[in-house]
């Protein structure tokens, strides 16, 4: 029953994705993710967290993880692919592939590309990341 409801929700979102509104929305949403990755690559914690909705259930855990990552890792992230799936009156759903790689010769890090579904939510008049589910991981 729950999965049926989810299917209907996704079908609705996919249908909405074909609308002109979705076409206008896609660049704005991708900008949020681009900004997240660029800020991450600059090791700018405040700027990275500024791309995430402060009410996100993952806000605190992401902030804590980033603080450690900026101290422990020297990696960069880049957007490989971005597809806006759809939206309703509150959330936008997109799918993205993000590659994370360390400098050549770095030990103890496996370069990878994640395939993820991302939820975006409006906060303070700006779209921000809300949640993420990683569907797959490809390593190099």
């Amino acid at each position: 029953m729950r999965s049926s409801a989810a299917l209907v929700a996704v079908a609705t979102l996919v249908a909405l994705a074909a609308s002109p509104v979705a076409a206008q929305l896609a660049p704005a949403i991708q900008y949020v993710l681009d900004n997240n990755l660029a800020s991450f690559n600059k090791r700018d914690l405040n700027a990275t967290m500024n791309t995430i909705d402060t009410r996100s259930p993952d806000y605190a855990s992401t902030k804590a993880a980033l603080e450690e990552q900026f101290k422990e890792l020297d990696v960069t992230a880049s957007l490989v692919k971005f597809t806006l799936i759809g939206h309703d009156d509150e959330f936008v759903v997109a799918r993205a592939s993000i590659r994370t790689a360390a400098k050549p010769g770095t030990k103890d890090f496996v370069d990878n590309t994640i395939d993820a579904i991302l939820l975006f939510h409006m906060e303070g008049g700006a779209w921000k990341l809300w949640d993420e589910t990683i569907l797959g991981v490809t390593t190099e």
């Binding site: 729950r2 999965s3 989810a6 299917l7 929700a9 996704v10 996919v14 993710l33 997240n36 990755l37 991450f40 690559n41 990275t48 791309t51 995430i52 996100s56 259930p57 993952d58 806000y59 855990s61 992401t62 804590a64 993880a65 980033l66 450690e68 990552q69 422990e72 890792l73 990696v75 992230a77 799936i85 759903v93 799918r95 993000i98 590659r99 994370t100 790689a101 360390a102 103890d108 890090f109 496996v110 990878n112 590309t113 994640i114 993820a116 579904i117 991302l118 939820l119 990341l129 809300w130 949640d131 993420e132 589910t133 990683i134 569907l135 797959g136 991981v137 490809t138 390593t139 190099e140």
Partner: protein, 133 residues
Amino acid sequence: MKGWLAVGIGVGALAMATTGAAQSNWSPTVDTYGSSRAQFVNRDMEECRQLAFQVSGGSAVGQGARGAVGGGLVGAAGGAAIGAALGNAGRGAAVGAAAGGVGRGVQRAAQTDQAFQRAFSNCMRQRGHRVLN
């Protein structure tokens, strides 16, 4: 396809099983010096890879892990945590892989990888190749 996406959206922060995360590219190193079986290395590599996938429960060759890991981290932090955890489980936990089940998923992936690599190497040895790792 839609059902698959629905699962992805619906699980939110739940962790799901990870298989075959780092398997697609790994191959054992074989020393062919003086080996009478050297001409069969490439063929045996492919056959042993397939067998090792079956043994370890991995996914098809060339496919990334599916239904991998969920929640806990948003944006660039996710890939960084996964890469660290796959490289070193302890370090991965320190940089956020433990958040929201990422650690559990990666841990399963690492265990599956170990089984895959062990099976791959054993298979090559049993076919008469000198495997160095």
